[in-house]
Symmetry: C2
Subunit: 349 residues, 2 copies
């Protein structure tokens, strides 16, 4: 286990841990003493019909969802909804390689898939809150992969689904890209097959990974227009790479990111229908709004649109953001305004 | 020096070497005994008005330009033109890290820039062939960077210019991307700061680089449609990554690729006008046809179009190719047909 304050309450704010006990994983392995980190906002109404589940993305935690997506000035308004933000497994805050005791610590932490997240979240929502209907499941990127999984696996429970900047089945292009990220970390000899005393010793591999994320995670327009000046207040390309991209990942745990990459690389709802994506997405009963980001290099709009055509009655709303995939963090003016407008439209439906 | 048969005539076919003697580089350093590899097709006419210069791209040599772009069935027809294909410096065939004797061998090979190529090529064309006018300068990717350099530095000598899949100034996005490629190689401890007995010992770093090239070098559509089946005859994603991407780079020399990356990352005609790209491109007198590839992740059409607007009278023709940047290799049906049509239009102008 690695004591990393980045994943503690001093950085992540107020969250609670729900103990699931043993969680049998899709792989057949059991994650013992599985814990989900969550935070709630608002109050369930009498019919428990106002619950909203918010999921998290690669490298992100419930904190960024709380800070950027939830509040009285947003569609996800705690005055109207009972909002549950849940950290994905392996996020560093929920059960993860660096916070799980032996014999499942570090490199021995089990391999997970998105289906494990949804099973864990389903147990938490039903056991802890008695929730049987979700007015909305919403999340971006890997959070969107969880949304698709929810909508396919629990079609009657999910009334509305909003996968943002995500596809229902990982593309082959993303499989290759994620592998380059994994190789950037695992090729650092100090990663040492996952056994290190502190994530900081794997800084070289983490830095290499951060730069690769920068190439597809931001659009060519973001660079062409030097938008780091206005969007994140950086003074040059190096300042941006060091001060934003590398600095963002530096406090994180390498095994946490690798754990998430494994899931990211394999997300695929078609496995519920023998590999038939159309058949899997045809099961969705939720009113679905597919929301790609216009300049996304991870989950480009044309791939999201292909999914959208397979979901009965799904709406398609493109969020305009020259920042690209990492626009998800909400730094760009106008980004959250669009998200809120689209989510309000969906919530009113 | 490394004896690598990949860069010899058994692989590269018939080429000649032109000895330039000492080449003073833009950096101030001198490349001693500089040699340019070239091959010619066709015959100069009496006025020497039919000369065409063909340049090479990253990892490519004159051989691929000969095989794919030149022939009686192409716009670059040896029956009409005197075609000179010249390998860029550092290509492995022209003077390069692995074929240059001490004290400039291997890691001590000087850092080059695109301006050095154009100066070397200019000397060769004038000294060896007495060429004073070029009916056309054409090349793709780094070859296109050379085309822009030619058109800006020798505006009266270049009658027509066709930069394919290239920009006149490297984008900041490409600077970051190329850095990820360099880091993939240089992080391999067996690269050993450039001192290795054979490029094959740096296979891990080279393989990591090959995978990163695969992410932006081919389009998301290429993966989505599994075009490796039809375009290059591969049976799966792994088969494609191993059998095409890694196999393509495996016989190459790591220092050669790093030498080219250094140039690729710095190509910028605006340095001739104090950083003012518009002023530099305004000097171009060549009839110019800017030819991006529709799905190019390296030099996207919108960036090429921005250059095009700055070149007086330039034409803009997008080559449709879902393969993306590496479509340059001409495997895709219809690719060369478009290139030939556009070049014929330009040559007729």
């Amino acid at each position: 286990m690695v004591d990393n304050p980045f994943y503690g309450p001093e950085t992540q704010g107020d969250y609670k841990l729900h103990d699931l006990g043993n969680l049998i994983l899709e792989s057949g392995e059991t994650l013992r003493g599985a814990k989900l980190a969550y935070r709630t906002f608002g109050t369930p109404n009498a019919e428990k019909s106002n619950a909203v589940l918010v999921t998290t993305w690669f490298s992100g935690t419930g904190k960024v969802m709380q800070d950027v997506y939830v509040g009285p000035d947003h569609a996800l308004d705690p005055n109207r909804y009972f909002i549950v933000i849940v950290d994905q497994l392996g996020s560093g805050v929920s059960s993860s390689p660096q916070n799980t005791p032996p014999p499942q610590a570090m490199a021995k932490f089990p391999k997970l898939c998105i289906g494990d997240d949804v099973r864990a979240q389903h147990r938490m929502l039903t056991d802890l809150f008695g929730i049987e209907r979700l007015a909305l499941v919403v999340g971006g990127s890997m959070g969107g992969q969880q949304v698709y999984e929810w909508a396919v696996v629990h079609p009657r429970m999910v009334e509305r689904a909003a996968p943002i900047a995500a596809t229902a089945r990982i593309s082959l292009h993303q499989q290759v890209f994620v592998e380059t990220l994994k190789e950037a970390i695992t090729s650092d000899p100090r990663w040492n097959s996952g056994w290190y005393a502190s994530g900081l010793v794997v800084r070289e591999g983490m830095d290499r990974m951060a730069r690769i994320v920068a190439t597809l995670g931001r659009s060519t327009q973001f660079y062409q227009e030097e938008r780091w000046r206005s969007v994140v207040g950086m003074s040059s390309l190096d300042d941006f790479i060091n001060g934003v991209m590398k600095a963002y990942f530096e406090p994180m745990d390498p095994n946490v990111l690798l754990c998430e990459m494994h899931k990211w690389q394999r997300a695929d709802v078609s496995r519920h229908a023998g590999g038939d994506l159309a058949a899997a997405l045809a099961r969705v009963e939720a009113r679905t709004m597919v929301m790609p980001i216009s300049h996304d290099g991870f989950f480009p709009p044309h791939e999201c649109e292909a999914d959208c055509r397979l979901v009965p009655g799904a709406l398609f709303r493109v969020i305009q953001s020259p920042e690209g995939h990492m626009g998800l963090n909400g730094f760009e003016p106008g980004y959250m305004e669009q998200v809120d407008r689209h989510l309000n439209e969906l919530l009113a439906a």
